[in-house]
Assembly symmetry: C2
């Protein structure tokens, strides 16, 4: 339930999210995430802008409380709650920045959704960054602990994007191997690069393909102990036969005792604290992305119909999100 | 101070602000503000989109709690807290929507502020709407009560925009007259229209000019009991001699006992609950609009140097905002 002092912190949240977006856009995020204090000189190098101008931004972030500085000339330390502020900013940035075309052209998306969809596309980077910020608390922790607790030897991540989740898993599970599959060639290149950077590239295979192609060529799924799919299956589910084929292929190619882990969303969750964001998420998908989210029951039914023996559903931190585990 | 449950309501705030922006963009705001329940048919007419598509948006707004509906087919009633939700949304929309060019091109605004400023301008409508939403609780109530309590017979509003504040004042003070002065021809046309709509056009004069021109031709100020200037003087203040000239003209043309009421901002207020938004507001003005906000003391000094005898400063609801009253 929204409390009466929400108005007081709306300004805080808005300002912090905007400053964090600006910091991201000028290239300051790596320094913020490094975990050690950084100097004005380092910020100047990272952003590539003149030192007195970089200083303006650091001053604003310090005044806002996102950075701390011991002395007038000392290094800058990200505040202890920076991860919380990022997580909160994720909701604002996803809603108001990543979905900007759907807001600005809302009337057109209601009137002519197909034409509007062809003409006004979201910025992939904004979607990826804001989703990552939400995920940092909203779903990654739950997914990671679920998967790591099962100690899989081989993991396949469908719709893996830039590979962040799988690389994190391979780092935590130092003898496991993984396949990252994504439709976007750019995201796959980033995943290759990130894999080398994290020194897991000898255990990581990147496959540039759509999830739907697994119906005809399921080879990338072979021998997986865990197949994970994060926020990609609701797109596949718009075509029930293709979705059934993908799920059957997943089941057939999982190793014995393996499971399919699907992180995704259900529509219009009615609980306080979930209802507003879940409503926006559901509305934008149906009005502007031509996606009708399956209900929780419908998700479970899809998994059972594909032959999975046991299916569980758990709420994650992001309003409306669910972690489905379907055991072979 | 940001409390630990801020994360929980960030999603609520983001979703409500986005839905309210969408509602504004499809033309639903007048129905939301009408104060009486409205039907799906009315919403369909107001938005001009097909009924089943308008229904999608009303369903989402109902699910989010912004609208209430007694029965499956009954009319929609805006929630009792809609004014609060609008106010909160104002901070998010001003920060992340109205300032979008400054965020997206943040690096360029730091590197080449002049060129960036010429190339990337804010959308005037987004600025006006989000400022109005913030103002609804953030500064209008304080300004209105300050001015109304003085029962001015003649009011001049500098930088009056679409005239909302002055028209509200003329409605509350049924024998008073007013002059609305603004640089924007479009805003002046809107003020004329709004004056007719509110039936105060016989007491309202609209002048399409910049505040700076008052130095050479102060006629619009003649005989004012109150001269008000909302968030326009910080621009004028960038040129100290012009600002001094404008303030002197105001003082000279005020009626006996009259006063200048300036609603504006001070930079980098350090108080909890103000620091983050004040930092963003200050940063965007200095980095992207070439405006250095005067400090509270400096504002007061400007008024005194122009000959005003008594100057007071009061904090308003919007972080960093102040109501200055300078008596002739």
């Amino acid at each position: 339930m929204i409390s009466s002092d929400v108005s007081d912190i709306a300004a805080d949240l808005a300002a912090n999210a905007t400053l964090l977006e600006i910091a991201e856009n000028v290239g300051l995020s790596p320094l913020l995430d490094r975990g050690t204090p950084f100097t004005l000189a380092e910020a100047t190098t990272a952003t590539g802008v003149p030192e007195d101008r970089a200083a303006l931004l650091l001053r604003a972030m310090s005044a806002a409380g996102l950075l701390e500085r011991d002395a007038e000339t000392g290094p800058f330390t990200p505040c202890a709650e920076l991860a919380d502020r990022r997580y909160e900013a994720g909701y604002l940035s996803w809603s108001l920045s990543a979905n900007r075309p759907y807001i600005d052209h809302a009337e057109r998306f209601l009137r002519e959704p197909d034409a509007a969809g062809r003409q006004h596309q979201r910025d992939g980077r904004r979607v990826a960054v804001s989703s990552r910020w939400i995920g940092s608390r909203g779903f990654y922790p739950g997914v990671l602990s679920e998967i790591i607790s099962r100690k899989p030897r081989h993991i396949v991540d469908l719709g893996s994007g830039a590979g962040a989740l799988l690389i994190r898993l391979l780092t935590e599970l130092p003898t496991s191997t993984g396949v990252a599959l994504d439709l976007s060639a750019g995201a796959c290149e980033e995943a290759e690069r990130a894999g080398r950077h994290a020194q897991v590239d000898d255990r990581l295979t990147v496959v540039n393909r759509s999830v739907e192609t697994l119906v005809d060529d399921p080879a990338p799924l072979d021998g997986a102990d865990i197949i994970h799919a994060g926020f990609v299956m609701h797109d596949v589910a718009q075509h029930p036969e293709v979705f059934a084929g993908v799920l059957r292929a997943c089941r057939e190619h999982l190793a014995d005792g393996g499971c399919l882990v699907v992180t995704d969303a259900v529509p219009y969750v009615d609980r306080p604290g979930e209802r507003a964001f879940s409503a926006l998420f559901s509305y934008l998908h149906e009005s502007s992305m031509d996606v009708r989210l399956p209900t929780e029951d419908r998700w479970c039914e899809h998994f059972r119909q594909a032959g999975f023996s046991e299916v569980t559903s758990t709420a994650l931190g992001m309003p409306g999100s669910r972690l489905f585990v379907a055991t072979r």
